[in-house]
């Protein structure tokens, strides 16, 4: 068969023949449709025939189907012709071909003897699309074949177009896919942006919440009037403004740092969420609280969801829908004074920014509490001071009362003393008056004549009695003046009358001593004063002068100086030493002791005279003296005594 084919092929001059019998493309082949003829040679299609068909088709003859493989696979066959005179051979050839090859859409025709209708149908069933036989003219066959080839080519062309469309479609598909990827990426970007913006919103929200919390916290700081009130306000702020689930504040006892007293708490749902959790083995009943107090740093426990961390905390957190605990120590420079504990829900779990805010709030709270404490301490000190003050005041009052009482008592005593003196003086004077009076009667001889001795002795009794009376009178006067109870009776009188009375009194005594007693300056000075007291002063001074003068005499000099009267009693007596002058006006002071016995007297005279001249007559008493030369006592008093109302 191969020979035949070879022969056949070699008969076609324009077809290049390759070794191994395979056909290859030729220029001619590209132009003419390739027709594969299996079986007998068809005369009208034989290259030797005179018909034009050879120029219409490029026909390859093969004996049987076994050798068509290379042609079918290597080249595009445009038409297959099965050629055999009898039907059975034709059919078996088709069947064999079909068993081995797929002809796809390549049009298949048969060339044979004239066939029955039934045979024709069988062939059609086998995919034969046209049946030719020898009676057909060659033109008809060629035309028909051309039609079929054209149809097939058209179909093939469609397929190409389809391919093209398909590839375009694929291209578009690819493009679409690329676009989709791009869209996906854009969508991703968009989602990211959205997420970012939501995040920003969240941040904004958190920042706003923080600001609101700090602002409200500041207000609470200013408004609170006690540390507990401040703690409560802060808890309320943290729940209301910062929207935490719960906030509570505990104070550590200043003396006993092992006990924590919860002083304030607030919960978002109003329900009381347990504060003291019972973490086993925890000093303050909660691990995070204990850690915060002991370490003095903020402790954040944001994963209570982990049941293993602490079962007790987890149970309560689950029940009350929160998952974070922040424990913030409230501290001063060197001590932890308490704790601020905040619980937060998953929805507002604690962010980094909020930690800063919370620590600020805790710092403010600690500062506020400490300032309240120092204010309380200051108030306490102030109160203590006030108490001490009022205590002191009451003490002063009671002392004053005591003093007043004592004063009152003293006044009573003074009155008693005055009464005593008045009564005693009366009781002393009355018998003395009798003694003086009766010795006077006896001395006068009214009860009969007395001998010299009797007269002398009675004179001594009389004189001593008078001395005693004078002493008593002086003591009473001093007591009256010192007790400011002396009565002053001003009246008009002349100084001369007083001096004359006193001189008359001492005339005898002076004569007896052989000393002179005279008034110098005749002028009369009128006074409005206490005559008796004025006379008393003059009396005392003259009495002293006569008493201490042994030679020479006593001179009374009176002068008016402005509104005052100056009355001097000048003697030539023993005088007073300079160092004794300062003490001569003191009570019970007397001039040199050796004179005491001789002169007699208690030493009250000058003291009383000084007192009367200054305190009763509102004047003064001065002295100038030289030992053994004499003394000059001068009383200066206003002529007109002004009584104090």
């Amino acid at each position: 068969m191969t020979e035949q084919t070879e022969i056949c092929l070699s008969d076609i001059p324009i077809v290049e023949k390759q070794k191994g019998g395979n056909l290859v493309k030729s220029n001619k082949r590209d132009v003419l449709p390739l027709v594969l003829c299996i079986g007998d040679v068809i005369p009208i299609l034989h290259p030797d025939s005179a018909s034009t068909s050879v120029r219409e088709f490029f026909v390859v003859y093969v004996r049987d189907v076994t050798s068509i493989e290379p042609i079918l696979s290597k080249d595009a066959v445009d038409l297959v012709i099965f050629s055999s005179p009898n039907f059975e051979a034709l059919l078996s050839s088709i069947e064999q071909c079909k068993k081995r090859h797929t002809l796809e859409k390549i049009p298949v025709v048969t060339f044979s003897e004239e066939l029955t209708e039934k045979q024709c149908f069988t062939l059609f069933e086998y995919g034969v699309i046209d049946i030719f036989h020898g009676q057909y003219s060659s033109e008809f066959v060629v035309r028909k074949l051309n039609q079929l080839v054209r149809l097939y080519k058209a179909t093939l062309g469609d397929t190409h177009e389809l391919h093209e469309v398909k590839s375009r479609q694929q291209h578009l598909q690819k493009k679409i896919e690329n676009s989709e990827t791009e869209v996906q990426s854009l969508l991703r970007k968009l989602r990211f942006e959205k997420l970012k913006s939501r995040e920003l919103e969240q941040v904004n929200f958190v920042v706003n919440r923080c600001l609101s919390t700090i602002s409200a916290g500041n207000f609470a700081m200013v408004a609170a009037s006690s540390e507990r009130e401040l703690a409560q306000s802060m808890c309320d702020v943290l729940v209301k403004h910062a929207q935490y689930t719960q906030a509570w504040v505990g104070f550590l006892d200043a003396d006993d740092s092992s006990s924590l007293n919860v002083v304030a708490h607030a919960s978002s749902d109003g329900k009381s969420i347990p504060i003291a959790l019972h973490c086993e083995g925890s000093r303050f009943g909660c691990h995070s609280v204990t850690r915060a107090i002991e370490s003095r740093v903020t402790v954040v426990n944001s994963s209570i969801s982990n049941k293993a961390s602490c079962e007790a905390c987890w149970d309560v957190a689950t029940e009350h829908d929160y998952n974070s605990i922040v424990s913030l120590p409230l501290k001063d420079e060197n001590r932890t004074i308490g704790i601020l504990n905040v619980k937060a829900k998953s929805g507002n779990s604690i962010e980094f920014d909020e930690m800063t805010m919370l620590e600020e709030v805790a710092g403010d709270l600690a500062f506020g509490i400490l300032s309240h404490r120092s204010r309380n301490e200051r108030d306490r000190l102030f109160n203590a001071l006030n108490e001490m003050n009022s205590d002191l005041e009451s003490k002063i009052r009671s002392r004053t009362r005591e003093l007043e009482l004592a004063n009152h008592k003293l006044k009573e005593l003074d009155t008693l003393k005055s009464l005593f003196i008045a009564s005693v003086s009366h009781e002393l004077r009355t018998p003395l008056n009798s003694i003086i009076g009766f010795t006077g009667i006896l001395l006068k001889g009214l009860s009969g004549e007395l001998n010299e001795r009797q007269r002398d002795q009675l004179t001594r009794v009389n004189r001593s009695s008078k001395q005693l009376l004078e002493l008593i009178i002086n003591v009473i006067d001093i007591a009256k003046i010192e007790g400011h109870r002396i009565e002053i009776f001003p009246a008009e009188f002349s100084s001369r009358s007083v001096v004359n009375e006193v001189m008359a009194e001492f005339k005898e005594a002076a004569e007896k001593k052989g000393i002179s007693l005279q008034l110098k300056g005749e002028e009369d000075i009128y006074l409005y004063s206490d005559r008796k007291r004025f006379a008393q002063c003059v009396h005392n001074l003259v009495s002293n002068a006569v008493k201490y003068t042994e030679k020479g005499g006593v001179e009374i000099v009176q002068l008016k100086k402005g509104k005052n009267i100056e009355l001097s009693v000048v003697d030539t007596g023993i005088g007073i030493a300079p160092d004794e002058i300062s003490t001569c006006f003191q009570a019970f002071e007397r001039l040199p002791t050796h004179l005491k016995v001789k002169a007699g007297g208690a030493g009250l005279g000058l003291y009383l005279t000084k007192k009367i001249s200054t305190e009763v007559l509102h004047g003064g008493l001065t002295v100038e003296s030289k030992v053994n030369k004499g003394s000059c006592f001068t009383i200066t008093v206003p002529c007109e005594l002004e009584l104090e109302s």
Binding site: N433, S434, F438, K444, K532
Partner: protein
């Protein structure tokens, strides 16, 4: 003979005064109390009264006032006999109608002289008026 009413509660003083006055020839009316003194002043027409100012029942000044209120009270001289303590307030005595005063202790040497001086002054005043 002049009749002197002596009002004095102290018996010693009474004895002293009456002794001196009797020795000088005076008739004596004694009253130990102020009230009695006022009664005797009215009933016995004394020519002179010596009145102790410190009396146990009523004050001497009150006695003086009552005596002066009687019918012939103003014509009889009344001399106060005062303790030393009272002499300062001689103005009050004079104001109450006293003609003069004699200060205790009584000096027998001068007593009659003092009384006579006051009586003479009173007599001169009476003559002048």
């Amino acid at each position: 003979m002049r009749k002197v009413l002596v009002v004095e509660d102290n018996p010693n003083n009474m004895e002293l005064v009456t002794f001196i006055l009797k020795a000088s020839g005076f008739e004596i009316l004694e009253a130990e109390r102020g009230i009695v003194g006022v009664e005797l002043f009215c009933s016995d027409d004394p020519d002179l009264v010596l009145l102790d100012i410190q009396l146990p029942d009523i004050d001497g000044i009150e006695v003086l006032r009552r005596m002066r209120q009687t019918e012939k009270g103003n014509s009889v001289p009344i001399i106060a006999v005062t303790s030393y303590a009272m002499t300062g307030d001689s103005g009050a005595l004079v104001k109450a109608g006293c003609d003069g005063y004699i200060e205790k202790p009584i000096d027998p040497e001068r007593f009659i002289e003092q009384v006579t001086t006051i009586l003479e002054r009173k007599g001169r005043h009476a003559e002048l008026s």
